[in-house]
């Protein structure tokens, strides 16, 4: 990919062709989604969880659903909404985080591409609505701790451990945290976006320094909120279980997926004839980060696994027993490790592969799919137990979310100039070469 003569004033035009592509993804997604629902609702596909309809729980010590529980296709639907919510919210916030890190680190090479991660943040308000909506709709399915009888000493369902966590895990406080975190991210995002657009008009370094301060404050806020939100949105599904590394784990997964999404967007934009100044060095830099952070994800994943495996304490191992001992989930664990570690590690190891459009596209798409499965593995076994499935419903809903995410991001991208021409370090980025 060679740099070409570029137009500093260029704007992204959300063309009919791009809209048609997104619409195609949406239509295929909807069709698969509807087929998936019909198959589950009629119980036609027994291999994919249809048998769940007849299930009455209460198996073994590991099950938190000690009382009888019927799993229906609506449960699976709610769980899938939650997986996609957390995943796409992550892609969105990592765009803002990446952007903030570039300011805090005074990075010059990325000045020319900063509008792309910036556009990712525009999905945050949609994500907030979806998070609250799906939570209010599906909390009893997704989060075991929302069952009021667990806290009632008279009830046979009384659970001492969960009752002990009531001060933290209760609906009002949970919703307040969700609002404060995502609301805070949105507030930081719009402040940064406003400064960034003002910089285009005013020029000078005033806005840069202001943004550096805001970005640094955001990173501090995000450090705490990303970790706590990981406990809330993902770890509290397995209510009895906890891991001190979980915040990092979710963050690592979000981060590498977000970087892959940024890299993929850059390649697609470059191939569509935008951002002509981009050369191999830019792609090398962003894909070095994809490579590095997929190793970081593996480090966190394995760090969490090894400690639990080695200590062998039943309260802790249950998380991996549910996944590795299961006929259904165990193959996903190995698939997860392969596509998120071995594949990007070997494919992105050489210098040249980080610079070639075809390889970048393959690896980034693989990483994006892989981390969707990572969230699938975090969320499904704790909610649907042995009755999770993977079929048209999952693929369809993920495609619907992807189309929505792509539409919102592309729309935001077309609203501002594609190159931040008054960024103080823009020349360093335009002539980036090594």
């Amino acid at each position: 990919m060679k740099a070409d003569s570029y137009d500093i004033e260029e704007r992204f035009v959300f063309s009919d062709g791009a809209k048609r592509s997104i619409f195609t993804i949406l239509v295929i997604g909807v069709v698969l989604f509807v087929i998936g629902i019909i198959m589950l609702a009629t119980g036609g596909d027994s291999s994919e969880g249809g048998h769940a309809l007849a299930f009455a729980g209460g198996e073994g010590s590991g099950s938190e659903h000690g009382h009888g529980h019927h799993y229906t296709w609506t449960d699976r639907l709610k769980v899938n909404f939650w997986i996609n919510n957390v995943y796409f919210l992550g892609l969105s916030i990592v765009g803002v985080f990446f952007f903030a890190v570039q300011y805090a680190a005074h990075a010059g090479w990325s000045a020319g591409i900063k509008r792309i991660p910036e556009a990712f943040g525009s999905f945050l308000p949609v994500a907030l609505v979806l998070m609250i909506g799906v939570f209010l709709w599906g909390n009893h399915t997704i989060f075991h701790w929302t069952d009021a009888s667990l806290y009632d000493k008279e009830s046979p369902n009384y659970d001492e451990i969960i009752a002990g966590k009531q001060a933290y895990l209760n609906l009002p406080f949970y919703l307040i945290r969700m609002l404060v975190f995502i609301g805070g991210w949105i507030a930081f995002y719009y402040t940064l976006r406003k400064q960034s657009l003002l910089e285009d008009i005013e020029g000078g370094t005033k806005r840069f320094w202001k943004m550096k301060t805001i970005a640094t404050l955001f990173i501090i806020f995000f450090a705490v909120s990303s970790s706590v939100s990981a406990w809330d949105w993902v770890m509290s599904i397995d209510t009895h279980w906890f891991s001190t590394m979980f915040g990092w784990y979710v963050f690592a997964s979000w981060h590498v997926a977000g970087l892959a999404a940024i890299s993929l967007t850059l390649v697609l934009l470059k191939e569509a004839g935008y951002l002509k100044f981009l050369n191999e060095s830019h792609f090398h830099d962003i894909n070095k980060m994809v490579f590095g952070f997929s190793v970081f994800w593996t480090y966190i994943w394995f760090g969490q696994f090894l400690l639990i495996y080695y200590a062998n304490i039943p309260e802790e191992t249950i998380y991996f027993v549910e996944r590795l001992e299961s006929d259904f989930y165990s193959k996903f664990i190995f698939f997860n490790l392969f596509i998120n570690f071995f594949f990007p590690f070997l494919a992105f190891m050489t210098r040249d592969s980080k610079r070639k459009a075809t390889i970048i596209k393959i690896v980034c798409i693989a990483v994006l799919i892989g981390h969707w499965f990572d969230f699938y593995l975090m969320i499904t076994p704790g909610t649907l137990k042995e009755h999770g499935g993977f079929g048209f419903l999952e693929i369809g809903l993920a495609m619907i979310y992807l189309a929505g995410f792509a539409y919102v991001v592309a729309n935001a991208l077309s609203k501002a100039p594609l190159i931040a021409k008054n960024h103080p370090m823009i020349q360093e980025s335009l002539h980036h070469h090594y």
Binding site: F302, F305, L306, Y309, Y310, N312, T350, R351, Y434
Partner: protein, 206 residues
């Protein structure tokens, strides 16, 4: 056969003169032996037409070797030779072997690549580097041209090419056979009998 080495040394004072000069010298068919600079000059490797180094491939091979050796070592010790029951785990518990395997991979990859580089470039303890001009460590950029590699051009022609490209100084430098010879055994013998150190041998060239 003349075993002595004859070089023309061009001294440049300006980085841009050097970068353009190196390209022009090569265009005129003169083969450059080596360029010595006090600091890394960006783009010089492209101007000199250097191929990309193959040391990363060596690093990968050494890393892979490290992975295999570490696994063989641990499986040999912990599974075959002296199986131990640790926390009720199976003898062959791969997750337990991962940290050591990782460390050994990194160790062999880094040491392997460094030693490969030093060995290929001849930067071993006994090696005697040719010092063309000591000012290459200070403020001058030094271009060395091996006359034996440029038999088609006369010394005068190369001299004038260098002068035309703003070389501040051009002179001839001869290294005798004795200077070029470097033997590890001789180095060790010297070290123990005469206490001849590397630095004193370098000083000999000045």
């Amino acid at each position: 056969m003349d075993k002595n080495k004859h070089f023309l040394v061009g001294i440049f004072g300006d980085q841009d003169d050097l970068l353009h000069g190196v390209g022009d010298i090569r265009k005129k068919g003169v083969k450059i032996h080596e360029v010595f600079t006090p600091y890394p000059v960006h783009g010089l490797e492209h101007a000199l037409g250097y191929q990309r180094s193959w040391t990363p491939k060596a690093a990968f091979m050494f890393g892979f070797l490290g992975t295999c050796l570490a696994l063989i070592m641990q499986i040999g010790m912990m599974v075959i030779d002296w199986p131990m029951n640790i926390g009720g785990k199976p003898y062959l518990s791969i997750p337990d072997f991962v940290p050591v395997t990782f460390e050994f991979t990194v160790l062999l990859a880094s040491y392997g690549m460094t030693l490969t580089f030093l060995f290929v470039r001849g930067y071993l303890p006994h090696s005697v580097p040719r010092i063309f001009d000591i000012r290459a460590t200070d403020d001058k950029l030094v271009v060395a041209i091996d006359l034996a590699n440029n038999a088609s051009l006369s010394e005068e022609q190369i001299r004038s090419i260098l002068k035309d490209l703003h070389a501040e100084e051009v002179y001839r430098r001869d290294f005798t056979d004795e200077d070029n010879k470097s033997s590890f055994i001789k180095y060790v013998v010297d070290l123990f009998t005469n206490g001849v150190t590397r630095s004193s041998r370098i000083a000999h060239h000045r």
